[in-house]
Every structure is written in C-alpha cells, then in structure tokens.
Symmetry: C2
Subunit: 393 residues, 2 copies
Amino acid sequence: MFDPLKYRDVDPGFRVLMGPGPSDVSARVLQAMASPCIGHLDPAFLEIMDQTQQLLRHVFQTDNALTIPVSGTGSAGMEACFVNLVEPGDKVLVCVNGVFGTRMCDIVSRIGGELIRVDFPWGRAVDPQIVRQKASAARPRILALVHAETSTGACSPLAELSQVAREVDALFLVDMVTSLGGMPAGVAENKIDAAYSGTQKCLSCPPGLSPISMSPQALDKLKSRKRPVVSWYLDLSMVQSYWGKERKYHHTAPVNMMYGLREALRVIAEEGLEARFARHAVNHRALVAGVEAMGLSMLVPEKERLPMLNAICIPEGISDAGVRSALLKTYRIEIGAGLGELAGKVWRVGLMGASCTRGNVVLFLGALYSILNQMGAQVTPGALEAAGAVFDD
Amino acid sequence: MFDPLKYRDVDPGFRVLMGPGPSDVSARVLQAMASPCIGHLDPAFLEIMDQTQQLLRHVFQTDNALTIPVSGTGSAGMEACFVNLVEPGDKVLVCVNGVFGTRMCDIVSRIGGELIRVDFPWGRAVDPQIVRQKASAARPRILALVHAETSTGACSPLAELSQVAREVDALFLVDMVTSLGGMPAGVAENKIDAAYSGTQKCLSCPPGLSPISMSPQALDKLKSRKRPVVSWYLDLSMVQSYWGKERKYHHTAPVNMMYGLREALRVIAEEGLEARFARHAVNHRALVAGVEAMGLSMLVPEKERLPMLNAICIPEGISDAGVRSALLKTYRIEIGAGLGELAGKVWRVGLMGASCTRGNVVLFLGALYSILNQMGAQVTPGALEAAGAVFDD
C-alpha cells in the first residue's frame, strides 16, 4: 500500500562508478548543486551562466559564441543539433559504428532528413577513406559521427573526417558525449560545426545537462532555415537569446544543475586539460595491460581504443550478468553491459573523470580476477603486476 | 581575460523567491540532491524511480501508470505531451489567455497540427461556454489549456472544461506547471488525459524535471499513431519502457534531480495535500487583502484568481523595474515582471510551495509599502493590518 510517510531518506549507498556513465561526482560538485536555488534571471545567476560558457569553451577548445549547456541529458544535445541543423529533405550522412550512431539515424529519419547511412564494424573506428567515397557521391549537407562510441569503446579520427566534410562542403557534426573532458575535443582545430556532450561522463557532474557548441557556419544554417525548428524546447535561435545579451526568457534554466556543471568545469580547469588527458591515457593503458595479462582480450584494436571506455570481451562460458552482479554486490563496482549487437559479448568499463584513478584500476583488476577465478574461468595471474609496470614506466 | 582559476565558489547569496518560479527550496531537498550520484540502472536508483512515481501520482491525484518526470524543465513536459499526442493534420483546440497558451499554439504549429486557437482576455479565466461553441463546431481531437496561467494569475475551471472535451470526444490536455502542489490537480476526478508540470513552482524543487501524467486513453492514442513521434528524446513509447518493468535504457536519467524531486514530494506528502492547499489559499487571501488595503488592484477578478501567482497592477507613474530592483537590492526579494502584453503593466508575486509563508506575505507587503512610499506613490496605510485580519479569521 502507498504510504509515503514510510519512505526513507535518499541513501544511494556506496558505489564505484566504472560503467559507461555516470561517473563518480566529487563532493565539491555535489555541494555546489546544494547551494540555494535562485531565479533564472537573477543577476547573480546570469554571471554563473557567463562563467559556465567560458569554462565550456575551454574544455571544448573553441571560441564559438554559441557554447551552452542544453537543458536535458546528452541525448537532448544530440536532438538539439540535428533538429536545428537539418530541414526536411536535407541529406545527412551518418557514420554508424555502434548504438549511438544508430540513434543519430533514428533522429534524422524522424525529422524528415534524407539519411545516408554508412556502416562500419562495431568495435572499429570510422574509416575516413570509405566516408570520403560515400560523401563524394552523395554530397550531404551534414556529415555526422560519434567521436567516442560509448557502446564499443572505439575512437574515430576527427581531423581526417573533418577534412572529408570540408571537401564536400558539409557541416561536421560530432557526438562528444563520452570524449569531452577525457581527451582532446579540438572543436576549433578540427573545424567541428556542431558538437554535443553530456555532463555525466568525463566531466564528472551528475547527468542532466548537455553541453553543445556550434560554429558560425552552423549558425548561418540556423538563420537561413526555411521552416521553423520542429522542437520549441530545443530551438537554438530562441535559446541563444536567453544566453546572449538580450537575456530573453525562453524556459526556466535548471539552476542547480548549472551550479554543478560550473563547479565540475572549474575542477577540470584547475587540473589542466593536458594533465587530465594524460591521466586518462595512463590509467587506460594500465587497465588494458592488466586485462590482457589475465588472458582476456579487448574488443577494439589498440590504435582505435578510447581511454575512458574499455570494452572487454566476455570469455566463453562465463556469465555476463553473474560477473556484473558480483562486482556490484561484493565490491560495489558498477560496470556496463553490452548494448545492441554486443549485448552479452562485452563488459564496458569506464575510466571517466573522477572515476579515472589508479586506485580504481587496481580495484577493478583485483575484483575481476577474483570473481573469474571463483567462477572457474581460465585466468592468468599477474594483472596487477602488468598494470603496475605501466604506472611505473 | 579568461582565468578560470580566479572564479570563486558558487555563492548565490540570500534570496526570497516570490517570483513566478523557481520558489524557495528547502535544505532537505538540496541535501537530497547532494547525495552521491549512482547509475541510472542501479537497483537502488530503480527503487527511487518507483517511489517517485508513487509520490507523483499522489500529488497529481491519479492512478495513471504513465506518471513520470520528463528529463527537462516544464516546457519539455509541454512539448512531450503535444509531440506524442498530436500527429500532423490532427485538429487541436488551444485556449489562449496568456503567454503559455500562445506557447502551446507555437508547438502545435511546429509539429503540423491543425490549430484552432480560441482567445480570451489576458487576466481572465477560459470561459467553458465559448469553448463549447468552438469545440462543437470544430470537433478537435485535443482540447488544450493552461490551468494556472503563470503570466496572468488566472485560474481556469477544469471540471467544466473537461466536460466540454468529453462532449466532443477530445483528449483533455492541461498545463499544470504552476498549479501542481499548490491547489487540487484532480487528474482522475477531472478526467484529464495529459497533464504536465514543472518542479520549480509549488513542488519547491529546483527546475530541471517536468512531471507528466497520461491517461489510458492518451496511451491508446500513442499506440495507434501512424507516424513516429518527431522527437526521439521525448518519445514516451520508449521512455515508458525505461520506467516500466522492462527497464530498457533510453537516455541517462537526471539522477540527482530525481533525488531532489522525490524529497520535495515527500515533504508534500508529509504536510498533506489538503493542509498544503489551505496554506496556499490563506496566504493568497492575506496578500490580496494587504495589496488592496494599500489602494492597489489585482489584475484578475476575485473568483478567477490563482492562490500561488498574484498579478498586481502597477500604479500609474511608478517605475516597474525600479520597484523590482529595490525589492531585490534592499530586501533580497525576487518578484516577476509582466510578460508579453502585460509587460510593464503588472508585477507577478508568487506564493509557491516553501515560499508560501505568512512571513513572506508580511515581508513583501512591508517592503512594497515602503518602496512605493519612498517613490511618492499614493499608498494607503493598513496593509499589514488587513493581512493580519485574514490570518486571524
């Protein structure tokens, strides 16, 4: 029976978040979010918005004026980019090498874009040469792909793919949900026209906002649209009036989430981007060394691997859910299951933001080794030593 | 020059939130939001989701299975209801008596619905008799209106308008952004097919989530759609798979915002709906008594007034912005400016949720009297006495 008076205080317990996001959130960020809520047009809040924009430009590595957090999770950022830049009938080439590429296709179809879908094996990077062939033939207005495929752990080469977009005069639209804050974004350097991300991955802020950045070329497309954007909530022409000098009310901003994002971005700026990227890289290499020392294998070939999302192939005869459940129950570690065609085939281990620590690498390797051993799997000793060798290198 | 290391800790200062939202948020809710973030598929979080749904049904006064918070602010809930229930060509009758009614019209047009717009004076309730005439002639599939027009302070009669919707066999869609938690919603009693709200008004949670509730009849419409919902992010067929038994991943839920909403709803359940509504009613009457004792007048006729949003006509010759600025700077009180055609004509004073206190009524009346006096306005003494008489009644 419904008796709300019996509900207890929120108590999520202790977790080590090593899944595909959310990642661990620092006490600094949580405390910032617990600051008193004020009005979305309050001068004190407008200053927080301005600073959040500056900090976002820093981590996106761009000067783009339209660099803001959209009021929704990462998927809202994806939708915002497509609904604003695609009009019915516009050709959109989407590179698909995992679940989030298929999601792009779904969105393009819903809004009436003409979809040109180019598939790649799941667990591999997008191949610029193949994209060049398809794009030269199709002449799309937008070339879209996922930088860091969260469903597979594959990283696609932005510089080369940006070059292809420029060759065919297409806008270059990139999903940076998982990469932003854990590896270079280079929005300016890679001439990215639209990028979006989520707060709960390498930014280590709770989920709820989706940072986006759009180039002047993308804004031109916005201005020259023939039809209104199908989404009122995500119509960036209106949203940017609130973020710009006019401060025109559009919708009530998620005030306390903004406090949290600003604080998470301050943490990043204090660490420094280069140091942060190096930390993600070394912990990733140590994790992989340990995993391979155990005799397990990674899904993605070495040169195409993301640092922050590691897909480990599940050994034959080992229970996917059993291992994840033991990690959670015995060690309080959350990792991710496989998605889509990789369901049951891989475990996804995140090393994102605050979760990306030497301690978590050691904890995970020790826990996984012990669990697999107990399940009677063939695992070779020496994982911690192999990881240690990377750290000491 | 950009130097993020010089940015200080978040410090919003002290505010008394008496605008059109956000309202004051209790320490309980802020602390709940600052609990550690866990995964959106963690068993502990799934339990929090279930409880949040139960608590939402309580405040919406319904058993509707699809009663959930949408991952965006109130406007996202508005968009979610329309994009899911309206297909291109569907006739939608929208009653407009303020800004938020015009926003409904905008959304209907963007998604290709056939809009039948019925206008009413701003500051007045929607008149069921006029709606009956228009609806009988037009036979819309959806009849939509704003229960509590935040831009004017007018309250429209749900029971009578629901009756009209049933007469013409239309789905009844209601904006409850400002009313939910401060006056009866009666989603079941009033046979409302789709209702949406925001967290930052009478629920006294920070902005960021939009509770919605849909009837079985609305779900039938969802199932019988011929075209996919144009928004992937807000496609409730997919979203409800995550909230239902399947627990199918759609997008990452705003975990910490959910902690906050659950706590805000617990606060409401502990107070009791009837006691809460009575508190809103008496503080409203006291505020009005004080305002009228000063010689000022309310925009909305007595019987059509909302308790939680009070639009006060700005006296001739008095500076709108000057008064609001003095309230903020001298007294730390935020109130709202007029919107749309009421810009410069009214002040909007909220008495919502945690902000709806006897202390705030007294504070506001005292501050306003003092400011107007200093500006040389003709104000009659006796506001506090008039308010006190209501409290002591």
